[in-house]
């Protein structure tokens, strides 16, 4: 960005020397740079229209819904204000909503950590000069394309129905069909791991499939980051006698730490909005039942929670991020 500024400043200076500048100045009463920059509005126009005529009105409308009851009328609808009652109801009366929020925050926190570690490890592996690495990359990114939206949703359906109707044939869950969580739990127990750690590892293994399918985008971002690190840095570190392990922690991690932040935010938002999230499912159910007002109230509470969560997490991660230009 600094580059652009100096460039425009330069062209501005050149333009001032030019005799034509006077003419242009007379035309609009604005200097060349400002005139040029105002052109930007034409490019951004679609988004301006979208934001101010569709998105923000919808957001404001949603907020109004959350404060009122909706009365349907012929050709239109009317809102009757009820104040904060719906918020009160969803937070303190509804037994499932608050618990759902707490639970989804807990599982999301774990998810973010595991997904980022997994994506980082896989990106490091994929960045090596392995045979058939193009093939591996293609398959690992496949879930980004195919295991989204309705497919992920229907996948859940097959897992849950098979769990109910098909217990004896043992294909309850996909990962469960491949290997058993209990073996690992027993192994960790016998190694004297403490209970919380065992629980985390076992649940991560249980969720292995969803972690693998949810981390495609993060993997791409990390891989792009790894490839943008200049090999010269590693070379000089090697000359100085750094081992692979040392240069991983002293070079790779600091260099891609801004991307850890990006990925963390992406994962948080993604896991808050994905299918199978308890709160989102509840909101869906309310909408399909026609309870628009309370659904809006719940989504705003949820949004506030997500916002607070991001506002807490981002500065914490930001403390550990290394910025090259600073």
């Amino acid at each position: 960005m600094a580059d652009t500024t100096t460039k425009t400043a330069l062209s501005d200076k050149e333009a001032l020397n030019h005799s034509q500048t006077k003419k242009i100045r007379k035309n609009r009463g604005l200097d060349l740079t400002t005139r040029r920059n105002l052109m930007g509005y034409w490019f951004v126009l679609p988004f301006i229209i979208g934001l101010f005529f569709i998105y923000i009105p919808a957001l404001v409308e949603a907020f109004r819904f959350s404060m009122s009851t909706i009365v349907m009328e012929e050709g239109t609808y009317r809102l009757e204000s009820v104040g904060w009652a719906l918020y009160h109801e969803s937070l303190f009366v509804d037994p499932d909503f608050f618990r759902g929020i707490v639970e989804s925050i807990g599982s999301m926190f774990l998810n973010v950590v595991i997904i980022i570690i997994y994506a980082l490890i896989m990106a490091t592996i994929l960045n090596r000069n392995l045979a058939a690495k193009g093939f591996y990359r293609a398959i690992l990114f496949l879930p980004v394309i195919v295991a989204t939206g309705i497919v992920a949703n229907a996948e859940n359906f097959t897992i849950t129905t098979s769990g109910v109707s098909d217990i004896e044939s043992g294909s309850a869950a996909i990962a469960g069909g491949v290997f058993s969580e209990f073996d690992i739990e027993l192994l960790l127990m016998s190694l004297n791991f403490n209970d919380t750690l065992t629980g985390i590892v076992v649940s991560a293994i249980g969720n292995l499939y969803s972690i693998v399918t949810c981390s495609g985008v993060q993997l791409i971002i990390f891989l792009a980051g790894l490839q943008s690190i200049s090999p010269a840095i590693y070379e000089s570190a090697t000359v100085e006698g750094a081992t692979w392990w040392e240069s991983f922690w002293k070079i790779t991690i600091p260099m891609i730490s801004p991307l850890i932040l990006v990925n963390a935010v992406y994962t948080i938002v993604d896991s808050f909005t994905q299918y199978g999230n308890q709160v989102m499912d509840g909101i869906y159910k309310l909408i399909s039942a026609g309870d628009y007002a309370i659904a809006s109230a719940q989504s705003f509470v949820y949004l506030a929670v997500v916002g607070v969560f991001i506002a807490i997490v981002v500065p914490i991660i930001n403390k550990f991020v290394f910025y090259e230009n600073k």
């Binding site: 960005m1 500024t5 425009t8 920059n37 930007g40 034409w42 490019f43 951004v44 679609p46 988004f47 979208g50 934001l51 005529f53 998105y55 009105p57 919808a58 957001l59 949603a62 819904f65 050709g75 239109t76 896989m122 592996i125 960045n127 045979a131 591996y136 398959i139 690992l140 990114f141 879930p143 394309i145 195919v146 989204t148 939206g149 309705i150 497919v151 359906f157 129905t161 109707s165 044939s169 996909i174 491949v178 499939y209 791409i220 971002i221 891989l223 090999p231 590693y234 570190a237 692979w244 935010v265 938002v269 909005t273 909408i287 989504s299 705003f300 949820y302 997500v306 916002g307 991001i310």
Partner: protein, 327 residues
């Protein structure tokens, strides 16, 4: 650890003498660690592909095989019963056509509008740019479900941003077609569009300003520079975005179920929704059979994407690595 030997393998160019047999210690370590990586990757690839393989196998089981607990994956009698029935219920070819039209139109429109907007954000320092870009991030971060209801209401009682309201009290219900999709795509606030704007903006920021200046000196206007000089450079990136937009629109259930529920224009994602409740409680449609049908349905939805990904995969991976989010 013989790090001196190992490091270039990580990031440097390939060694020319890769196949010369020198069994020193470093070489062994490298071979073992590479082998270890292969094992991990193969395991994960198996995990990703296994559901698809499983569904493909189940698809060919005959109705009797599905009821038979001794049959798994390999059919006793091959049959296309499940496939034919699923295609019939999903009205496959018609829905495929609808989905293809919807996804193509949306992907192209979204890519064009996002490219335009991203270019504006990347290259022009107009007043209020920071604030507008904060708007992009806001759209990215707010779960779309928050505005789901009001968006639906807006399009049900649509009055062209208040213009129509000047003439008549009547509003139009445009939720029964692809108009909402077109509107959202053109104004670049559709499904995941903020992410595309963000990626393209990073890309345009990386292009040298000299191109632009040269074009201006040669007498192009701002849009001339954009269309003649910037767009040709951005083609690989735009293909990446088209691929993203196309496949995410293809599997999207959120906007489809919002706007096309009652329409005669039924995309595959809605048909798959329908398939999940089809034949519930009916004696013929046993749990196993319904499950096999949903599995087949997933395969049918995904199959075209699979083929497209096979061809576009290079763009998809490279476009992001070369020019994307990092910067």
């Amino acid at each position: 650890m013989e790090a001196v030997e190992k490091m270039p393998v990580m990031n440097g160019p390939k060694k020319p003498n890769k196949f010369v047999r020198t069994f020193n210690k470093a070489r062994m370590i490298q071979l073992v660690s590479n082998g270890f990586c292969h094992i991990i990757l193969i395991g994960i690839i198996f995990l990703i592909l296994f559901p698809f393989i499983e569904k493909l196998c189940t698809m060919f089981l005959s109705y009797e095989d599905l009821a038979d607990t001794t049959v798994k994956y390999v059919p006793k009698t091959w049959s296309l019963n499940t496939l034919v029935r699923t295609m019939g219920i999903m009205d496959y070819w018609t829905s495929l056509g609808s989905t293809a039209i919807l996804s193509t139109v949306c992907a192209v429109l979204q890519t064009l509008s996002c490219t335009l907007v991203a270019y504006g954000f990347a290259r022009y320092k107009f007043p209020g740019r920071g604030l507008l870009f904060a708007g992009v991030l806001m759209v990215l971060l707010i779960p779309p479900q928050v505005i789901m209801t009001s968006l639906y209401m807006n399009f049900t009682f649509f009055d062209f941003f208040g213009i129509l309201g000047l003439f008549t009290k009547q509003t139009i219900d445009i939720t029964d077609g692809i108009w909402p999709f077109l509107l959202l795509s053109v104004t670049s606030i559709g499904f995941k569009n903020s992410l595309y704007i963000y990626m393209l903006r990073q890309f345009f920021r990386g292009l040298p300003t000299e191109i632009e200046e040269a074009g201006m000196i040669d007498g192009s206007g701002h849009f001339g520079v954009f269309f003649r000089l910037m767009l040709p450079n951005a083609v690989p990136m735009m293909v990446t975005i088209v691929l993203f937009a196309f496949s995410w629109q293809w599997t999207d259930n959120y906007y489809a179920s919002l706007f096309l529920q009652r329409s005669s224009f039924q995309p595959l994602s809605l048909q798959l929704n329908l398939l999940q409740v089809y034949g519930e409680g009916h004696l013929y449609y046993t749990g196993n059979f319904r499950q096999a049908m949903v599995g087949t349905g997933i395969l049918l939805v995904v199959a075209p994407l699979f083929i497209i990904y096979l061809f576009g995969q290079k763009f998809f991976v490279q476009g992001i690595s070369q020019s994307g989010i990092v910067g």
